[in-house]
Symmetry: C2
Subunit: 215 residues, 2 copies
DNA sequence: TTTCGTAGTAGACGGTGTCAACCTAGGCAC
DNA sequence: GTGCCTAGGTTGACACCGTCTACTACGAAA
């Protein structure tokens, strides 16, 4: 068995199982973003942390934007799954409320993912269609929910009207979430007593806005 | 007068009037951001466009973030001025509505400034206190407006309550504005008939949410 | 066995922010 | 006037970055 010809100890560099480096890159990239912000993400740093050449990650991601798009895609997936996971009662009123809570919960529990989805400039939208497809899915879940509500005051219940109300709800919830995790809130002094009612009050106002529980 | 020693024709490089280069930098930086996005802003490109050495801008701005902070500060200024400029009737209901419209108008008329204020990661907040001070001013204008409204249903009219409602209004308007100019809207197909009612519907829902015109 | 695609390495290029040192015209005390 | 100081420029270097290109090792398929 002594095949002498072996080139002198070409250390076979412990070949990774397929897909391993790609996953490792995503993991490491997330760690970098979490620690230093998305603008500090560099594929070279990712490679360095993984003890691999600066070009290795490019075998799995066409460009820096592509690894970002991959990460954002996964964020949309996990977001939609989170919204889907909550128990439904079948009563539209209640289910919409629970969706609002789930939305905000997600933003609080996964600030990194939330910020990636809504708070930072995305990698050029139409260069990453699969990413945007997943974004659309999340909104359609909200839209479905609104369609189950009785027509709100001032509306005839047309599809256009429902769409507009879905956008109202989305605006408010998204606005709140993005304010909550932005740098803005600490600089406006939030009164002590208001802090824990921030979310419930906003959801209540949404309900009033849609004409629920009114008068 | 023939001082022979003159180093050969040191072309006196037409000294700018004081403050001129700084202004020129801001102007050029804005142009770059408008054309290619904030992440493409580079002080070297600014310098290049102005026909000046790559270090010249650093005489006026400590770092890339500092020129960005300067630009964002000015955006907050112009935003507050815009909100202030609208005519007031003294009737709280109406004045709040006109503020909402002015808010959205500003976001539509100055998308660049709006995105800089609310849509992109700001240069580290507490490294640029003067910038954040101007941000606070804008919110306080909204807060003042809310304080003039009659107490909304579900509230006793305490300061905490008012603050929460201000945040509700801000969330919704900010959320709408940020959705309007994000990449998200084109990917969810907005029904034709809904397009021009996007804003008015949202403002109406805010009104209902605060208990105005109800029933 | 040969061939070929995959996953990795290595080097170069031009771009970037930023540090350091240097130059120079003007303003001001004398 | 003379001399000095400083604000506002200059050039040069450094260490990063993304990305292009060429090369290598290897496993599986033919």
């Amino acid at each position: 068995m002594s095949t002498v010809e072996q080139p002198p100890a070409k250390q076979t560099r412990a070949r990774r199982p397929r897909g391993d480096l790609k996953e490792a890159c995503v993991r490491e990239a997330l760690a970098i973003i979490e620690k230093d912000g998305v603008e500090k993400l560099s594929l070279r740093e990712v490679a360095r942390r993984l003890g691999v050449s600066h070009q290795a990650p490019y075998k799995h991601f066409q460009s820096r934007d592509h690894i970002l798009a991959e990460i954002v895609s996964r964020a949309y997936d996990s977001f939609a799954a989170y919204l889907d996971a909550r128990p439904l009662t079948g009563e539209p009123d209640h289910d919409l409320g629970s969706m609002g809570i789930a939305y905000i919960d997600y933003a609080k529990a996964h600030p990194l993912q939330y910020r990636l989805m809504f708070g930072t400039p995305l990698p050029d939208a139409d260069a990453h269609p699969e990413m945007m497809a997943k974004a659309r899915h999340a909104f359609s879940m909200l839209l479905d929910m609104i369609y189950r509500l009785p027509p709100a005051p001032g509306h005839d219940g047309t599809d256009d009207d429902r769409f507009l109300d879905a956008l109202f709800v989305w605006s408010t919830v998204h606005g709140l979430a993005s304010i909550l995790e932005s740098d803005a809130l600490p600089t406006i002094a939030v009164p002590e007593g208001a802090r824990e009612r921030l979310i419930s009050n906003t959801l209540m106002r949404i309900g009033f806005g849609l004409g629920q529980h009114r008068c």
